[in-house]
Every structure is written in structure tokens, then in C-alpha cells.
Amino acid sequence: MIVIQKKSFNYAKELDIFSKKNKLSGAISSFLGKVRDFSNLQKIDAIFIEHYEKMTKFQLSRIIEEAKTKWDIDDIIIIHRFGRLKIGENIVLIAVASKHREESLRSVEFIINWLKIKATFWKKEIGSDSTKWVKQKESDTDKIKKYNTSF
């Protein structure tokens, strides 16, 4: 399931629903990304996330399909927010249910790594002095090089 929404989401509640839905999956791995109070550049007050709605959904579904060809996966959920988010708020949740731990751990990592490169979201940091669009990190493009995947 892919959810792209402006409003905040409840991390615990979403995982609770996901785990109950996949009661017999032996392993559930998850990644939660939250707004930090600083970046490399400055102390920040909030962030603003813009996205290309039609493409974002399409890209995330492609990433999910790709993960499913690589690993035996029972279920996947991705929730990603856009709009203005305050410090400490949840940005993204990825959870994968599978029979064995390896599959769920690997695929959560795969999904967040590819999301960082392929999902059409853009982040702007709103600092006390200035706002600036975040630049993609070279370390993020490096992280996908290990995958034998191109899309």
C-alpha cells in the first residue's frame, strides 16, 4: 500500500494495523524518517515537501514491484508526507512483512535507498534566517550502486 498525504500519521497505529493484517508473517521490519532540528547547513525550524503527485505514486509502485521480484515478501506499506512539517514530525514510514528476517530487512533498506533517488519529492529547509532547497547527497546515489537494478 502506498499512501502520500499532507496530514500527519500515527507511526504506532500504522504499524499496529500492519502487523495485525500480517499476523502470520514471521518478520516485520520498518524504517521511520523524522524531521531533524538541524541539517549540515543550519538550525532548522520546519521543512516543506513538494512532490509530483502522479509520478511519485508511480515511482513508489515501481520500487515496490522491484523489491517483490527480489525477495519473498508478504506485504509492504509506504507512507510519505508532503507540505509543511515541523521538527520531530514523521516524514516517511516503510514497513515490510515477510516470512524470514533477511527479506524484510533487505527490502526496507532497498525501498528507502531507492525512494531517496527515484521518488519525486523535494525538501526545503525553513531556517530562522533563510530557506533553502535541500541538495541530493552523493552518498545517497552511492547507496543504490550495489543493487543489480535499473529503473
Binding site: 524518517g33 515537501i49 513538494e50 512532490h51 509530483y52 502522479k54 509520478m55 511519485t56 508511480f58 515511482q59 510519505h80 516524514i91 516517511v92 528507502i112 525512494l115 531517496k116 533517488i117 527515484k118 521518488a119 519525486t120 519529492f121 523535494w122 525538501k123 526545503k124 532547497w133 535541500v134 541538495k135 541530493q136
Partner: protein
């Protein structure tokens, strides 16, 4: 064709989308050249395309991709979600 702009590109050009009619199929390179003639803001944005990515109908595309009126083109910087 529908052209969409996102993030700093949207901000610098000042609009998020516009419609353009072209006569024949062109490449994205050629589209960029057309856009640069539309004013200083476009010229500034597209003067250096190193940090500009584009998509054609929601697929990441190279600048030599050929496009036509029914296509949806988007220009944006490298993504920074998650």
C-alpha cells in the same frame, strides 16, 4: 504539451505548469532551447542543466528523448524525499 516545474525550478520560473503547442516531434534539448527564448527567468534556469532532471509521462528521461504534444514533461532538481 503540458510542462511542469518543481522545487527551485518552479520557484525561479514563477509558475508550476504551462501548456505549449509544438508543430513536430522535438527532443527535450530542443524544448529547452524553445523555453530559453521565453524570457530571462527561463534562460537563467536552463543555462546550466547539470542539476536538472526531467521526466516524460512520469518516466525519468534523457534530454535526447523525442516528445510530442500529448506528452507531459516535467523539469526538476534531483529528488530529496524520505
Amino acid at each position: 504539451m503540458k510542462i511542469l516545474y518543481f522545487a527551485n525550478i518552479r520557484q525561479e520560473i514563477g509558475i508550476s505548469e504551462e501548456d505549449i503547442i509544438i508543430e513536430n516531434k522535438i527532443s527535450i534539448f530542443e524544448l529547452i532551447e524553445l523555453l530559453k527564448k521565453r524570457g530571462l527567468k527561463y534562460k537563467n534556469v536552463f543555462s546550466n542543466v547539470k542539476n536538472i532532471k526531467c521526466s516524460v509521462n512520469c518516466i525519468f528521461s534523457n534530454f535526447d528523448t523525442m516528445i510530442e504534444n500529448k506528452d507531459e514533461i516535467a523539469f526538476f532538481p534531483p529528488v530529496t524525499g524520505g
